[in-house]
């Protein structure tokens, strides 16, 4: 198992380097000098050239890349053009908010998704099944910004129950977390249901029923344990889409998070900031997948025992 983890760690590093290279190259092939774009039409040519040299943008791309990577390893992602502050500093403050938002959303999505999935699978084609699956599919089919705006409109604007935007206390997180988790809850409940239904066809389910387990007992003590394995993988993947969705949610609810930073970076044509946010988010996703893989290994005795 340790070997497995080491192998995956190695793979993750390669993937991360690949991601860095790809994003780096892509942002460098944008036509025009980024400094000129940033400083506007009336900037002095000499100033632009000085800035370009200062930022190392006159060097060949591969040297820029090596510089960037060595910097990033030390936690230095360069300085934001538009906000004039170090990217790592900006991300440091924003990341806390994004992480909180994502965790709240994940908690909501997992709890709701698993509960709905199990109750739907318990009675295939029953009322709960149709209801929950209909709602789940709607969850999967609604754009996040729509959910977010709808929640804002109903619960903040009309009912005044919760703040429209800002995250001054836990109440501020409620709407964004629900908006963000809604979609994932749908995916998770659908997966939980289909996995459970598959597992309910397995021979060992008959064995369990033959022992005298009730339908509910079979579902909880035998089927769910086994369904957990694919569901955990899915949850990790969902974490990635949560971070995707955070871009939108943070924009709608004006939360200062990584996603909003990325949107600001694009608006300000701020390459270091965009690069930093994209890379950092990817790092978080990769770490999440790694954690899920390890958890999978721990939960599945077929892998665990083979040393």
């Amino acid at each position: 198992m340790i070997r497995n983890i080491c192998r995956r760690l190695g793979e993750s590093v390669i993937v991360l380097l690949g991601v860095a290279l790809m994003i780096f190259v892509m942002l460098r092939i944008v036509p025009g000098n980024p400094v000129a774009t940033m400083m506007g039409e009336h900037a002095d040519l000499a100033v632009i050239e000085r800035m370009t040299a200062e930022l190392g943008l006159d060097q060949p791309v591969y040297i820029q890349f090596i510089r960037y990577i060595t910097g990033a390893l030390k936690g230095d992602f360069g300085t934001s053009y538009s906000l004039g502050k170090p990217v790592s500093f900006l991300m440091g403050t924003a990341f806390g908010n994004t992480l909180k938002l994502a965790l709240f959303a994940a908690l909501f999505a997992w709890a709701l998704g698993i509960a709905c999935g199990i109750s739907a699978a318990a009675r295939k084609n029953g009322l709960a099944d149709h209801l929950f699956m209909g709602v789940s599919l709607m969850g999967v089919s609604m754009p996040i910004f729509m959910v977010a705006m709808l929640l804002q409109y109903v619960f903040a604007y009309h009912l005044h129950w919760l703040p429209i935007s800002g995250i001054n206390d836990w109440r501020g997180f409620l709407l964004p977390a629900v908006a963000l988790g809604w979609n994932s809850a749908g995916s998770i409940s659908r997966l939980v249901r289909s996995t459970l239904l598959d597992i309910l066809q397995e021979d060992y389910i008959d064995t369990a029923r033959g022992k005298g387990r009730t339908q509910a007992g079979v579902l909880i003590f035998h089927a769910f344990r086994n369904a957990l394995l694919p569901v955990i993988t899915m949850m990790a993947l969902q974490f990635s889409s949560l971070l995707s969705g955070a871009v939108i949610t943070e924009t709608v609810f004006s939360i200062n998070g990584i996603g909003r930073l990325a949107v600001q970076a694009i608006a300000g044509r701020d390459i270091p900031l965009l690069e930093g946010t994209a890379l950092f988010t990817t790092l978080v996703v990769i770490l999440g997948n790694l954690a899920a893989d390890c958890l999978y290994d721990i939960l599945d005795p077929r892998i665990r025992k083979e040393v």
């Binding site: 793979e11 390669i14 993937v15 991360l16 690949g18 991601v19 790809m22 994003i23 892509m26 942002l27 092939i29 944008v30 599919l137 709607m138 999967v140 089919s141 609604m142 754009p143 996040i144 910004f145 729509m146 705006m149 709808l150 804002q152 409109y153 604007y157 289909s194 239904l197 598959d198 066809q201 990635s240 889409s241 971070l243 995707s244 969705g245 871009v247 939108i248 924009t251 996603g259 990325a262 949107v263 694009i266 965009l274 946010t277 994209a278 988010t281 990817t282 996703v285 990769i286 997948n289």
Partner: protein, 310 residues
Amino acid sequence: MFQGKHSDSRIQKIPDAEQDIRLLSQLGEEQTLGKKLGRMAKENPLAVISAAVILVLILGAVFAPVLTPYSYTGMDLRNRLAAPSAAHLFGTDEGGRDILTRLLYGSRISLLTGVVPALLSLVLGTALGILSGFAGGKTDSLIMRLADIMLAIPSMLLAMVIMYTLGGGLGNVFLTLTLVNWAGVARIIRSETLKLKNTEYVEAARVIGVSKSRIMLRHILPNCVPTMIVLFTLNIPSSILTESSLSFLGLGVQAPDASWGLMINAGRQYLYTAPWLCFVPGIAIMVTVLAFNFLGDGLRDVLDPHQNRE
């Protein structure tokens, strides 16, 4: 007394019990595509309704000019932000333009941004996936590492970075969504190919001496088709959603092209005064995506060899 009568022709015409038993135990029996679609139509009315909804949407997009008396760019400033009424079924926007009209024209863009990238990524992903699975070795690891990289970046950020590089516009939206989606397709087709490659009938073809390219074309590709149909149907809604998100952020299609996402983006500042500006196109997106998802689910239930037990 029962010796050597296996060629008795009377016997061969007796229908076979094994098949019925297989049907009975709900194990997927091999059926032709048409039969499977028929089964879906019978057992899954939602999928049929969804197909009808999609058809209506397509017709609406094609015949938009015939269906509405209003022009989709024509301003009518006296009639700004009018609430839904008989004259304007879904109201008007900040420029006094009829929302239903804009919705119909917008559906052209939104449907295109669903279908075109889904098709392109299907072709690219299938080609690379089959190649990867069948060739193995270095080709395989190269393609799969590339896919890993694409899949590691959260899709929204990847789309944003690519759109930033390419700039806005419809063509670039197509390209971006294709780049975002191909890797997922490639992975699934590759694993399908690996499974098919190890089936007895592919081994049986090898033992007969059938060439590799012929095995890929005759044995692997046709058996990937059900998976491909499902992937295609499910990639359309995901492309529509991503495009709408991009347009919502102002990174997608650019005016004067109007996608539903862009309409919501424009209407956002009137959320509290004229909510229909946001919610009408929002509901349109939802209905469209829902229809494609239902259809995709229905198709998967009957086509996906791994889900056939349901």
